[in-house]
Symmetry: C2
Subunit: 232 residues, 2 copies
Amino acid sequence: MLRRMEQMKQPRVESVEKALSILEAFTKDRPAMTLTEISVETGLYKSNVSRLAASLERYGFLKRDPNRRFRLGPALWRLGALYRRNFELGESVRPVLRQLVRETGETASFYVPDQDERLCLYRENSPDPVRHHLDEGARLTMHSGAAGHVLAAFYLGDSKAKSRLGTDGSCVSQGERNPHISAVAAPVIDANGQFHGALAVSGPHERLGHDALAKARIAVLSSARDLSQSLA
Amino acid sequence: MLRRMEQMKQPRVESVEKALSILEAFTKDRPAMTLTEISVETGLYKSNVSRLAASLERYGFLKRDPNRRFRLGPALWRLGALYRRNFELGESVRPVLRQLVRETGETASFYVPDQDERLCLYRENSPDPVRHHLDEGARLTMHSGAAGHVLAAFYLGDSKAKSRLGTDGSCVSQGERNPHISAVAAPVIDANGQFHGALAVSGPHERLGHDALAKARIAVLSSARDLSQSLA
DNA sequence: AAAGATGTTGCGCAGAATGGAACAAATGAA
DNA sequence: TTCATTTGTTCCATTCTGCGCAACATCTTT
C-alpha cells in the first residue's frame, strides 16, 4: 500500500502521500469503501483516515454516498479530463486508431506510461464480436505484452525490453500477457525526439497468425510514423 | 485559492489541502505551470510547493513535461475514469440526451454538483451550427442558469433557488448566465428519492422563444422521468 | 561573463499530525 | 424493547513533521 513512501529520503510530505494512497486504494472492484475498509486497505489508523478523508472531501476528491460510504469525487473527473486534454494527442490518435482497425480488422490502442505501469489512453475496438476487449483508462503491467515492452524500452530505458524490439522499435508478442492474444506495438516519437507512447494492434491469436501479424506490424509502424508527423 | 482552508476548525489536514490546492490551480487556460507560477497562484512558498509537488509526482498526480514544467499526471485520468464509472449514469443518460436533442433540435446536458459549482458531466450537442457549445467536464456557477437553480435547490437546499422552480421541479432561464441563451432544466431523482443531477436543454434565445421553451420543458420533464425509471 | 531567474536543500522552531483511547452513533440480534 | 457489536468521531499528550526562510545550485539571457 504505502510501499512507495517507505523508500528513500527524497523530499516528500508524508501526510500528503497518505492522503493520495487513500485515493489509490479505490479500484474498479472497490469503487466504494467504508472508513474502516480504507483503514485496513491503507494500513492507516481510522482516526487518521477520518481526518485525511475530511480534507479530500472538502476539495471534492472524495464524496460520501447515501450510505455514508466513501467514493471518489467529481474533482477527479474534472482534473482527469484536463489531464487528457493536455495531450492534443486524442485528436490525432483517434483517427489513426480507427484507420488501423479498418486496415487490420483488429482492436487498436494507444498506451502511455503511468508510474511503473501502462495506461490505455485511447482505444478503438475491432468490429468483430470476438475481440480483445479492454476499457480506456485501464492499467496493465509494463513488463509484458508488446506495448509493455515498447514503453519499458523507451520510457524506462529498460535494456532487457530494448533487446526484444526490432531495429524499427516495433515489438511482437504472442500469448504473453494473455495466452489467447497476440499483439504488435510501435513507439510514437515526435519530431523533437519526445516519446509519447505506444501504438498497438491486438487480437485473438487464431486470427493474428504469422502472416496477419506481419501485415499488422507494417500497418502499426506506418501509423506510428503518421502520428509522429501530426505531433511535430 | 486557499479560501476553503481558512474557514472553520473542522477536522482537516493542512498539508493535504495545500497539495490539493496545487492540483486545483490547474485550469484549461493554465494546463502547465512552473514551480514559481504554482507558488504565486496558490500563495504557498516555493520550497513548500517543491516538496508537496514531489509527493504528488511520486503518486502520478503531477508530472513534469520536457521543459520541467508541471502538468497534471495520469493518476488523475485513471481515478477520473473510475469516478465516472461509479455513475452507471452515463449509459442511461446518453441515450436520453440524444433523444432530447432529436426532439428539441437543441443541445442537451446533464449536470451534477461539484462543491459549490456545477459540473457538466454529459452533453450532446445540437446538430445546428448555431448552438450553445460547452465541453464535458466544464464547471459553471451553481447560482445562475436553469440547471444551476435546480442543483442549488435540490443539492444545496437553497430556498431562494427553490422559489424559482415550478411545482414539477423544473426551471426556465432566459439570458441569465449568457444574454443570448435560454434554457430549461429539471431534476433527476431516483425511486429512492436520491438526487442525481439536472437534465437541461439550452440554445440561442432566438430559437428558444416562449413556445419552443414550453415544448422543451415538457420534453425535459418527460426525459427526467424516464431517467428516474432506469435508475431505480 | 555577469546578471536574473528558477528550482532545491539545510536548518531550527512551532505547531501540525499522529496514535491511542474514550466516546458517540448506528446497526443488528435476541 | 434492550443489549451487544460494529463503525465513525473527538479528545489529548507527545513527537516529529512540515514550514519559513535564507543560502545554495542550476539554468537562461544579455
